[in-house]
Symmetry: C2
C-alpha cells in the first residue's frame, strides 16, 4: 500500500465542482476516481485538499490517493493523463509517506481572484475573470485587505454554519492592478466554504466605495454574514497552491 | 439604406467556423444574421471579410451589413451584444459609405498563430494554441519565413484549387518566442483557404529541422501542395485585424 500526492490543474468551466456527486459525472474528483480506478484495475479514492465550487479553476489543487502497491509516477502523469479530458491534467505525482492526506496534512493555501475592469467583456477571458467595468479604488481595497489579514473568526465570511471552527489565519492579501486586470492574491492557513469569494466581494465593495474600509472589519467582529459583501462569481477564482510541511 | 462596418471578436472553440451553413446553427455568420435580424425586425445579411475555419478565433474580424435605415451604433454594441452568446462580441460598429463590402473592400489582414512548446499541455491554453512540446529553431523559421514574404503564387499553400488567382502578397512574417510561447504573426494582402495554417505547418517543419529552409521556397515554385507542410491545427489561429483604405 503506497500513498501518492497528486498536483492537479483543471479548467473548472464545464464542471460541477471538485466533489464527487451521485447525480452527475461532471465533477473533478469523480472523473479522477473513475479514470485512475479503470487504469489501475481496482477502485481507488481520491481525496482533495478541499472542494472547489462549480466553475472555479485550479492550477495547483492537490489530492492524495492510496494505491495497492508501488506505482510508477508516470502511471499518473502519462497513462492516466492520456485518459483524462483535456481540461483536467495531473501535473505531478509523488510517492509520499503513508498517512499523508491532502486535506488534513495541508498547512496553507494560495488563491487568486481575477477581475477585468475593461469597458467590454473579453470573449477569451470571460470564463476566467469577473467582468466589472468600473473604476476600482485599489488603495481602499488594500486598506480593507489589511483589516482581514491575521488570525480571526471568519464566521461572517462563510455560507456554511456547521464548521467546528471558523478560526483561520490569513497571512497576506495582495491587490495588484495592470491595465484593466486586477488580481487579488490570498495566502492563508485555510479557507472556509465560499470564504475567498465573499472576501473578494467585500473588497470589491470597498474598491467601489459602496462600503467603508472600517465596515470590513465590522463584519469580522459581528460574525454576521449579512454585513460581509456579495459572493463574487466562481469563474474568476483559481486555486494556485497548497502547502505542506 | 445604410451600410455598417462591424468589428467582431469570437472564441471559435464551439463553432463550425464563420460561414453560415444550412445544417447547423453553430456558425458565427449564422448567429450574427439571426440575432441582428431579430433585433431589427427584418432580415439582414452579414458579410465577413473572409471565412474562418471551425475552431479558429478572431479578435478583429470585420463584417458589413446593410440596414434599412440609419441605425444607432449602440444598436449593435449594446442591443445586439446583449442577445449574442458570450463568446461572440461586436466590438465596434461604424456607419460607412454605401458600397463598402467587408471582403471586397479589404486591402490587408493580420493573423497570429500561437504555439506552446512547454513539456505539458496547459489546461487553460489548449483551445488557444497548438501544443508542440519540442525545441523549435526560431532562426530557421525566420529564414524560411523570409522565403515566403513578397508577392508570390501561393497555389502550393492552399487546399482549394478553384481560386481565380492564387497570387498574394505577404508583407511580413514575424516569429517571436518568449519562454515556451512561440507566436507567428502574418501580415498580407489576403490569404487563400487554409493558407495561414499551411504556412505555419511549413515553418514549424523548418523549425523542427524536418525540412530545409530552401524546400520552403521550392514548394512555392512547384505550386505543389504536397511539397508544403502540414495543416497546423485551427485552435492556434487568431484573425487579429482587417485593413481598409
Amino acid at each position: 500500500m503506497r500513498t501518492y500526492k497528486l498536483t492537479v490543474a483543471y479548467d473548472g468551466s464545464r464542471y460541477q465542482g471538485w466533489q464527487r456527486q451521485a447525480n452527475t459525472d461532471r465533477t473533478i474528483q469523480g472523473i479522477l476516481e473513475r479514470v485512475i480506478s479503470e487504469a489501475a484495475g481496482y477502485t481507488v479514492e481520491v481525496n482533495g485538499s478541499g472542494r472547489t465550487d462549480a466553475g472555479v479553476h485550479a492550477e495547483g489543487q492537490t489530492a492524495s490517493v492510496v494505491m495497492a502497491g508501488r506505482t510508477p509516477e508516470d502511471f499518473f502523469t502519462a497513462t492516466v493523463n492520456k485518459r483524462l479530458p483535456g481540461d483536467i491534467r495531473i501535473r505531478d505525482a509523488q510517492l509520499v509517506k503513508n498517512g499523508f492526506h491532502a486535506r488534513k496534512s495541508a498547512v496553507g493555501k494560495v488563491y487568486e481572484y481575477h477581475i477585468d475592469t475593461g469597458e467590454k467583456p473579453d470573449v477569451f477571458r470571460r470564463r476566467y475573470c469577473f467582468h466589472l467595468p468600473c473604476q476600482l479604488d485599489l488603495d481602499a481595497m488594500r486598506q480593507a485587505a489589511g483589516m482581514l489579514t491575521g488570525t480571526h473568526e471568519f464566521a461572517g465570511y462563510t455560507d456554511k454554519n456547521d464548521e467546528k471552527s471558523t478560526k483561520r489565519t490569513i497571512y497576506d492579501i495582495m491587490v495588484s492592478g495592470q491595465g484593466s486586470s486586477v488580481t487579488i492574491r490570498y495566502e492563508g492557513s485555510g479557507f472556509l466554504y465560499h470564504m475567498v469569494r465573499i472576501l473578494t466581494g467585500t473588497l470589491l465593495e470597498a474598491g467601489l466605495h459602496e462600503r467603508t474600509v472600517e465596515s470590513v472589519g465590522e463584519a469580522l467582529r459581528t460574525k454576521d454574514r449579512r454585513q460581509a459583501g456579495f459572493l463574487a462569481p466562481a469563474g474568476g477564482l483559481f486555486l494556485k497552491e497548497v502547502h505542506y510541511d
